[in-house]
């Protein structure tokens, strides 16, 4: 069983390999580019990135927590439907929401065009969507489900009951929420926000559509336009350092808290909303769902129909779909298995070294995709080179590439990138299994696998489903790693979207985008069936 102890370290090492590749460039000379950045764009980039991160964190926290609270604790018209429908925006890649938002609200979009003809006005008062606020709103709408999902998990399992306890202590409902429920849900909410933060920092697609310059756009610019992978890696290492500091802070903050709760509550009685409260909540929820999902999907469908021609290669499309689904499925399975093992190991052998190894394993989510992709690629090609050399020397066979260009490369890269996404929900669920639960199980004669099967799995189930859903959808939306590591012919829906948008053909990208959204709904439906039972 001691081999378990090593799993977190092995995975942390796996993640650190690409990070190491990136950081190793730190001492390579690129001072002219740094000087140039300091003198020109860097200050603005940092301000832009900071505002973006803050704005998106505040936005997703407000939306995610409030929506989770409403759907977990209250009863209002459509509550059942909304509680899963609010997850749907997960299926839309943020860059797609971005180009739809621009297509609709920008100067040339139907809204401004119509208003201009009606009002016969130049509409100079109309807020410019290509602005900081525009990017923040779009990213908030795209990323709030991470917070929603995790917060809802926490509220469902403890919200109503802790609220009752708070009320029995003389707090009113509002005080109870802020003083008891919210602090108790903190690790889950913090996990969701961490995911949002990392995703925001690593994002390139969305900010590129807005031409909003951030740290990540600078990384790509230095790499692709100034041909300096060294300087780009140095910038990326700074990003890693920042995220690492945030992780350490969050870890410190978290380790001071202990969670003695609790088993999942039996269907608690929900609080029935009445009168205008009722409609206010329904209206708010509907509004979010409309902006984050219905509007973009409707526009996409519209474009997809426009760009559809009878000579469409349908079999090819089914192939893209199959590739997307099977890759996401395999990745979700692999990543969840690895993360479960890690989480178990760190529970079994607690300690700060272990804790940091685990957290290090999640840092891949914060790196811009292409940077991570090349970071994965370099050590793998090296390994491949060594292997084929050996094969040549020992067996006199010319092997060519063994690992690269196979699904294995892809899966490893996905694992490194998306470990964070499944770590937070599974870890959150694991914290509910207290040692007293284990002791109780032992006293009933359950141990080893039996205990895991009979006691742990039921408690962990919702966390694992959450994790699998998130990973599945995220892998399907993923672009840079898929592009770089896919075997020949393994084009996916995301690859198709890349090809269309890279030529500015947004309308043509609509069909694969709609297909991707629909395919992303599959795990969300399955997930909801599991948790809403």
């Amino acid at each position: 069983m001691t081999i378990w102890r090593l799993v977190p370290f092995i995975t942390a090492a796996l993640v650190l390999a690409p990070v190491g590749v990136v950081v190793s460039s730190f001492f390579a000379p690129a001072s002219d580019i740094w000087q140039h950045l300091f003198e020109t764009t860097l200050p603005l980039l940092l301000i832009n990135t900071l505002w973006l991160a803050l704005g998106v964190i505040v936005g997703t926290a407000l939306l995610g927590i409030s929506l989770a609270w409403f759907t977990a604790v209250y009863e209002f018209p459509g509550r059942r439907f909304f509680s899963w429908a609010l997850l749907l925006p997960l299926a839309i890649p943020a860059y797609v929401t971005a180009f739809v938002a621009l297509g609709l609200f920008d100067f040339t979009g139907p809204i401004q065009t119509t208003l201009r003809t009606w009002l016969d006005n130049d509409l100079s008062w109309f807020p410019d969507i290509r602005s900081r606020a525009g990017v923040i709103i779009v990213m908030t709408l795209a990323f709030y489900p991470y917070v929603y999902l995790l917060a809802r998990n926490a509220f469902l399992s403890q919200g109503k009951r802790s609220l009752e306890v708070a009320q029995s202590l003389g707090f009113n409902r509002k005080q109870g929420f802020f003083k008891v429920v919210l602090p108790m849900a903190r690790p889950w909410i913090a996990g969701g926000i961490m995911l949002v933060l990392m995703e925001t920092l690593a994002d390139f697609g969305t900010v590129a559509v807005f031409n909003y310059n951030t740290f990540t756009t600078a990384i790509y610019k230095v790499w692709f336009s100034m041909f300096s992978l060294h300087a780009a890696s140095q910038l990326a290492s700074l990003l890693i350092v920042i995220v690492f500091v945030v992780i350490v802070l969050e870890q410190q903050f978290r380790s001071r808290m202990r969670y003695a709760e609790n088993k999942r509550t039996e269907r608690a009685q929900r609080i029935q909303l009445t009168g205008w409260h009722n409609w206010l909540v329904t209206g708010f929820v509907l509004c979010v769902l409309f902006l984050a999902f219905l509007l973009p999907v409707t526009q996409l469908c519209f474009w997809a129909i426009q760009s559809f021609t009878p000579d469409y290669d349908v079999t090819r499309y089914l192939e893209f779909l199959w590739h997307s689904l099977s890759l996401s499925g395999l990745a979700a399975l692999l990543i969840c298995l690895v993360v479960i093992t890690i989480v178990y190991a760190s529970r079994r052998y607690p300690g700060s070294v272990m804790r940091y190894a685990v957290r290090t394993a999640t840092i891949g989510y914060a790196l811009p995709g292409t940077v991570l992709a090349i970071g994965v690629y370099v050590p793998l090609t090296w390994l491949d080179g060594q292997l084929s050399e050996l094969a040549l020397r020992w067996f006199q066979i010319e092997t060519g590439q063994l690992i690269q260009g196979t699904l294995i490369t892809m899966l490893i890269a996905y694992l490194i990138r998306f470990m964070a996404v499944s770590h937070y929900p599974i870890d959150g669920a694991m914290q509910r299994i207290t040692h007293s639960i284990d002791e109780a199980a032992l006293s009933l004669g359950l141990s080893g696998w039996a205990m895991i099967r009979e006691v742990h799995v039921p408690i962990l189930k919702s966390g694992i489903f959450t994790a699998a859903t998130l990973v599945f959808v995220d892998v399907m939306k993923e672009m840079p790693i898929t592009l770089m590591t896919r075997p020949f012919g393994w084009d996916t829906l995301a690859v198709r979207i890349f090809e269309m948008t890279s030529e500015g053909q947004w309308e043509q990208a609509a069909l694969p985008a709609v297909t991707l959204v629909l395919a992303g709904l599959i795990p969300i439906f399955l997930f909801m069936r599991q948790t809403e039972k």
């Binding site: 140039h36 003198e39 020109t40 764009t41 621009l102 100067f107 040339t108 065009t113 290509r130 590129a208 559509v209 807005f210 031409n211 310059n213 756009t217 790509y220 610019k221 790499w223 692709f224 336009s225 100034m226 041909f227 992978l229 292409t370 992709a373 090349i374 690629y377 370099v378 090609t381 491949d384 080179g385 084929s388 010319e398 060519g400 590439q401 063994l402 690992i403 690269q404 260009g405 196979t406 699904l407 294995i408 840079p480 592009l483 770089m484 896919r486 075997p487 020949f488 012919g489 084009d491 690859v495 090809e499 269309m500 890279s502 030529e503 500015g504 053909q505 947004w506």
Partner: protein
């Protein structure tokens, strides 16, 4: 103990092997890394396979990622050819030692000197002309003259530009530097920025739509974006203007290719490269994307021909690569986002 099931074992083993079925070295096959997207290159590959029987395997990605990938793979790369949608990246690949010189009379004969590397490591296959497009309701074509003139205060609040992050603009500015020197080029770019009617846009199609909608009067785009938009909606009030016809000529970029240094199927790869410069493939380049064939003997698409003929800038595109970093820095200084 379950009994050993032979069939199951065979299936399992072959599944494991299929995971590893990366790249088997095939004699009659060319492997291409292409930054030109599938729809714009597959027709040429298909024609090549039909004519020669040689298979083409390809993967697409953006230029920078493909070059980094070639660099990481070193001599184990499966790729025989790199295709990009601009000259600067081919120059960068050549400088990084990823390409090898090709001596071919066919290529020398088909591709004009200014569209290929002086060291023969890469060759332009199609021309992408970056020209002025104006709103016919708001601009009289006599107002327009050169790229440099767009910096004149008379265009204040009338200009739309795509972001400086796109390589097409970087190449254009690099060529301006080659022609006028850095200080003068910076003055021009600063003039452009001062004349912007709105923040730089994320792509050429957007810029065209903004001109058509009247947010600005003139923009700088590659002609095929204009062609695509006009085919969709011929009623748009847009028209082409060919700048700098009395001096340096229209700035052109290329979509081009080179053979990788560690190509394993060099003969077949050269055959493909030569085919791409041949009449048949050049016609396809003109057809699939309304680009201009690199081979001057090939006629352009009739739809494109209607925009008129123009004098191109004859300066060798190697300058676009050499001066790209300088151009990017210049645009940063000038506040061109």
């Amino acid at each position: 103990m379950p009994r050993f099931n032979r069939n199951r074992f065979v299936v399992a083993v072959s599944f494991v092997f299929s995971l590893f079925s990366a790249h088997s070295v095939h004699a009659e096959e060319v492997v291409v890394y292409s930054a030109r997207i599938e729809q714009l290159i597959k027709p040429m590959f298909d024609a090549f396979t039909k004519e020669t029987g040689i298979k083409v395997r390809y993967t697409t990605d953006n230029e920078g990622a493909l070059i980094a990938r070639l660099e990481a793979e070193g001599k184990n790369t499966p790729a025989d050819m790199l295709i990009t949608a601009d000259a600067g990246n081919l120059w960068a690949a050549a400088r990084a030692g990823l390409l090898k010189p090709v001596k071919s009379d066919v290529l020398d004969n088909n591709i004009p000197v200014h569209l290929r590397d002086p060291g023969n490591e890469w060759f332009g296959l199609s021309i992408r002309a970056r020209t002025l497009i104006y709103n016919t309701k708001r601009v009289d074509s006599s107002e327009l003259s050169t790229y440099e003139d767009l910096a004149d205060p008379k265009w204040r609040k009338r200009l739309c530009l795509r972001t400086s992050k796109k390589v097409y603009n970087q190449s254009l500015v690099a060529m301006l530097i080659a022609e006028h020197g850095e200080a003068e080029a910076e003055k021009i770019v600063r003039g452009w920025v001062a004349n912007l009617a709105t923040d730089p846009l994320s792509d050429d199609t957007r810029a065209l739509e903004f001109v058509a909608a009247g947010k600005c009067d003139v923009t700088l785009v590659n002609t095929y974006y204009f062609g695509r938009l006009m085919q969709k909606d011929p009623s748009l009030p847009l028209a082409v203007f060919w700048p700098n016809q009395n001096n340096s000529g229209v700035h052109v970029n290329i979509s081009g290719a080179g053979i990788t240094r560690y190509s394993r199927n060099e003969q077949a790869a050269i055959q493909l490269l030569e085919f791409l410069s041949s009449d048949k493939a050049q016609n396809l380049f003109a057809d699939v994307n309304m680009e201009y064939p690199a081979n001057p003997r090939i006629k352009v698409d009739p739809f494109v021909a209607a925009w008129g003929s123009f004098k191109q800038n004859p300066m060798n595109l190697v300058k676009a690569g050499e001066l790209q970093t300088t151009a990017v820095k210049l645009m940063d200084r000038a506040g061109y986002r």
